[in-house]
């Protein structure tokens, strides 16, 4: 079967490609990417006029919650949400119950992700750095890598001991395995539930100081510099963290980072009167932070954009602020937020936008993804984005089980309207035009 996507704006940062043309998918492989062809004998034809054709999006930070927290999300619902968000490859975090600290669990996740009822996207597991993510004894990282993990991390329970982190990084260097780090000094953040600032002071909530994040960013960058271990700092939130990463890169440390939409679009003020939909980890910061994050996205200090998809059950979110869990379901709002807040505002060009949503995370985590070069991905991974589609984000119309979002009810401009991973795995109902139109 042959599928033709024609007359779209092809954006492929891996080849520095920005042209109007066609993409042909033959069975499940990319067959042609280039200028419009005069004639193709295709079974299905998509008129992509005014739309972007991009490599399938890659999300470096997703919580699928299975095993252990299936009431929040499952691998099936999470991968469906990913497909609907325009993603074809997602990295799932290891803080499940039990944590992803042994090869059998990696097998389980890969099996579930490949099941027919799942969303059809590739799941790239991130393994735990320490057993039980307890920050003490290293996991069998070699065996985990063999089983299929693409990076290692203790995610929400970051290793506090610098000695343990050093050993973990040394081991990962030898395995050529990136370490992904959520940076938080637990002694400074303990008991905190929002940014330590004017709003927390007003609401009488214990704050999480920016120093809690920055101290750990600095420590991890120093360890990366000295061990040579590739470090990916997840979801930076403060201007200080960004500056520290800029310095580490300048010093030659193999460091990269990502930012999540709530940290480039929202601030602490939005917590309002204890609205738990705005409770994030790290917390929403201030406009000064947002401004510097935007600058760092533009100048490349921030390499990628993650959804930081952290679904929770409604009953957990409807709780006193300090007791509610942190994070937001993000897979289905990230493209909308990114185009609205970064692309249409001129912070990022369309090509830079796709670089940060696809090519960069694929390159950093060495995934066979993030490119439209035929033959470089196991199957064709293509996302069609309507950059001008105006829509309102509504959590009640998402695939994810998590309905906790700070973007609920917000107006977005730009949306993924179709996703191909091998075959078509998602198509927005609004993307009817041009569907299955036979060429003469």
């Amino acid at each position: 079967m042959k599928t033709l996507l024609y007359n779209g704006r092809i954006l492929d940062p891996s080849q520095d490609l920005d042209l109007v043309g066609s993409v042909v998918i033959d069975d499940d492989q990319l067959d042609y990417v280039g200028p419009n062809l005069p004639e193709v004998d295709a079974d299905e034809v998509y008129d992509c006029t005014g739309l972007w054709i991009t490599p399938g999006l890659v999300d470096p930070h997703v919580h699928l919650r299975e095993p252990g927290h299936e009431y929040k999300e499952t691998i099936v619902t999470g991968t469906q949400a990913a497909a609907a968000g325009g993603y074809t490859t997602i990295c799932c975090m290891p803080n499940t119950n039990p944590p992803l600290d042994n090869p059998a669990l990696v097998d389980f996740i890969l099996d579930r992700a490949a099941s027919p009822e799942a969303g059809g996207v590739f799941v790239a597991p991130v393994g735990a750095l320490t057993r039980g993510s307890s920050g003490e004894q290293l996991t069998d990282l070699g065996a985990l890598k063999k089983a299929g993990i693409v990076a290692a991390s203790d995610e929400g329970r970051p290793i506090q001991s610098s000695a343990v982190m050093t050993r973990a990084m040394e081991f990962c260097v030898q395995l050529n395995l990136p370490v992904m780090a959520h940076c938080e000094d637990a002694s400074l953040s303990a008991g905190g539930s929002m940014n330590d600032g004017a709003v927390s002071a007003m609401l009488g909530l214990k704050g999480i100081p920016r120093s809690a994040e920055e101290i750990m960013v600095m420590r991890n960058c120093i360890l990366s510099l000295h061990t040579g271990c590739q470090l990916h700092v997840m979801r930076v939130s403060t201007w200080g963290a960004v500056e520290l990463i800029r310095q580490a890169k300048y010093l030659g440390a193999p460091v990269s980072c990502d930012v999540a939409p709530h940290h480039f679009a929202l601030t602490e003020d939005m917590v309002g009167d204890f609205d738990t939909n705005f409770k994030s980890d790290p917390p929403l910061r201030t406009q000064v932070d947002v401004d510097l994050i935007l600058q760092a996205l533009n100048d490349g200090t921030i390499d990628c954009i993650s959804s930081d998809h952290s679904p929770h059950a409604s009953h957990e979110v409807q709780a006193p602020f300090s007791e509610a869990p942190m994070g937001h379901a993000g897979l289905e709002s990230t493209v909308g937020a990114t185009l609205t807040y970064l692309c249409h505002t001129g912070v990022l060009t369309p090509l830079q936008t796709i670089e940060k949503l696809s090519t960069a995370p694929a390159r950093l985590l060495r995934l066979e993804a993030g490119t439209l070069r035929p033959g470089e991905t196991p199957v064709a991974q293509v996302t069609i984005i309507d950059p001008d589609l105006e829509w309102t984000f509504d959590v009640h119309r998402t695939f994810s089980k998590g309905k906790n979002s700070p973007f609920q009810g917000m107006a977005f401009k730009g949306k993924a309207v179709a996703t191909f991973c091998g075959g078509e795995i998602y198509r927005d109902a609004r993307f009817d035009h041009g569907r299955i139109r036979q060429l003469a």
Binding site: D196, V199, S322
Partner: protein, 320 residues
């Protein structure tokens, strides 16, 4: 939507004036044995998730003067101890046909959440480090009685401002009524950013209470010492205690206040606590009358029948 009293921050100056005028009137009537309005027919849930003797007794007294029946819940005995969420507890109380709630909780913002699901009036009796509106009203009534006005007064709030809901509610109330509010205490007991709180920060007691009309001491919770926030209680007392020597830095006729419970010899010494400057017992007594005002105010226009109607057609106002 019924009226709530969740904090002072959201009140208009006119509403504060109204509440204080009601309290003053109730006090006069009660003291003269004259009738006060009856809220008979309403049942008030007393939901204290955190231990409190003073505030609970004060609300009980206020309710009884208003002929309100109260239903008590002790946190330990309630279903919360069995794992029920706050939302479900509040929904249960709503369908038990309670007309209003008085709520104390250790988490900031818990009454705000409760008000979202309860559907009837909720009065905050202290939530975490957020607000304690009726304490601030009691303090304001006390100052009014002794000083005649709030406008233009210099009020120094001394001590653990960071962890104090009393400090926050007082700062909002006094600043809205035209007083100058100062926060006095060590940096470790001060919020790290006070830009959105209406007060100026002083770390030095002498300059903080200089020419103050009111010196309001806050309770120093001894368990705070464990976190290494201050070297010792002795250190705190040496730097911030209001006693016969330090009180001289304020105005000669300054009022010395304390929301209680008092740590004698720590925040205040005997000479300051028991002197004619002290207004501590008046604060306690006035607590009853401002709580009467708060209850009468939130129940204004609410008929007990409303609860029956609502129960007949339940609709979950749950936030999306």
């Amino acid at each position: 939507m019924s009226r709530n009293l969740l904090g002072i921050r959201h009140l208009e100056p006119e509403q504060i004036e109204h509440l204080l005028a009601m309290a003053k009137d109730f006090k006069k009537r009660v003291n003269l044995g004259k009738p006060v309005p009856s809220l008979g027919g309403h049942v008030l849930g007393m939901l204290f998730f955190e231990n409190s003797t003073r505030t609970r007794v004060s609300f009980e007294q206020a309710a009884s003067y208003l002929n309100l029946r109260t239903a008590n819940f002790a946190a330990q005995a309630s279903s919360m101890a069995k794992g029920e969420t706050l939302k479900d507890t509040v929904l249960t109380l709503r369908f038990e046909r309670l007309d209003g709630l008085v709520m104390r909780h250790k988490e900031s913002g818990a009454p705000t959440l409760a008000a979202r699901y309860f559907g009837g009036p909720v009065v905050n009796a202290g939530d975490g480090q957020h607000e304690h509106p009726t304490q601030a009203l009691a303090d304001a009534l006390t100052i009014l009685e002794r000083k005649g006005t709030l406008e233009g007064l210099v009020v120094a709030i001394v001590g653990d401002v960071d962890h104090s809901r009393v400090a926050r509610s007082n700062a909002w109330l006094l600043s809205k009524m035209g007083a100058e509010v100062r926060f006095v205490g060590p940096k470790t007991l001060m919020p790290s950013h006070t830009g959105m709180l209406p007060g100026q920060v002083f770390h030095d007691l002498a300059s903080g209470i200089a020419d103050a009309d009111v010196v309001m001491c806050l309770r120093l919770q001894k368990e705070r010492m464990d976190g290494g926030i201050i070297g010792s209680i002795a250190e705190y007392s040496k730097l911030y205690q209001i006693n016969k020597d330090t009180v001289k830095w304020a105005k000669r006729d300054c009022l010395v206040m304390h929301p209680g419970p008092l740590n004698r010899g720590i925040e205040l010494d005997d000479t300051a606590a028991d002197s004619e400057l002290s207004a501590i017992s008046a604060q306690v007594e006035n607590g009853i009358f401002v709580r009467m005002a708060a209850l009468a105010w939130v129940f204004e226009g609410v008929t007990p029948a409303r609860r029956v109607e609502q129960a007949a057609k339940p609709k979950d106002k749950a936030k999306k």
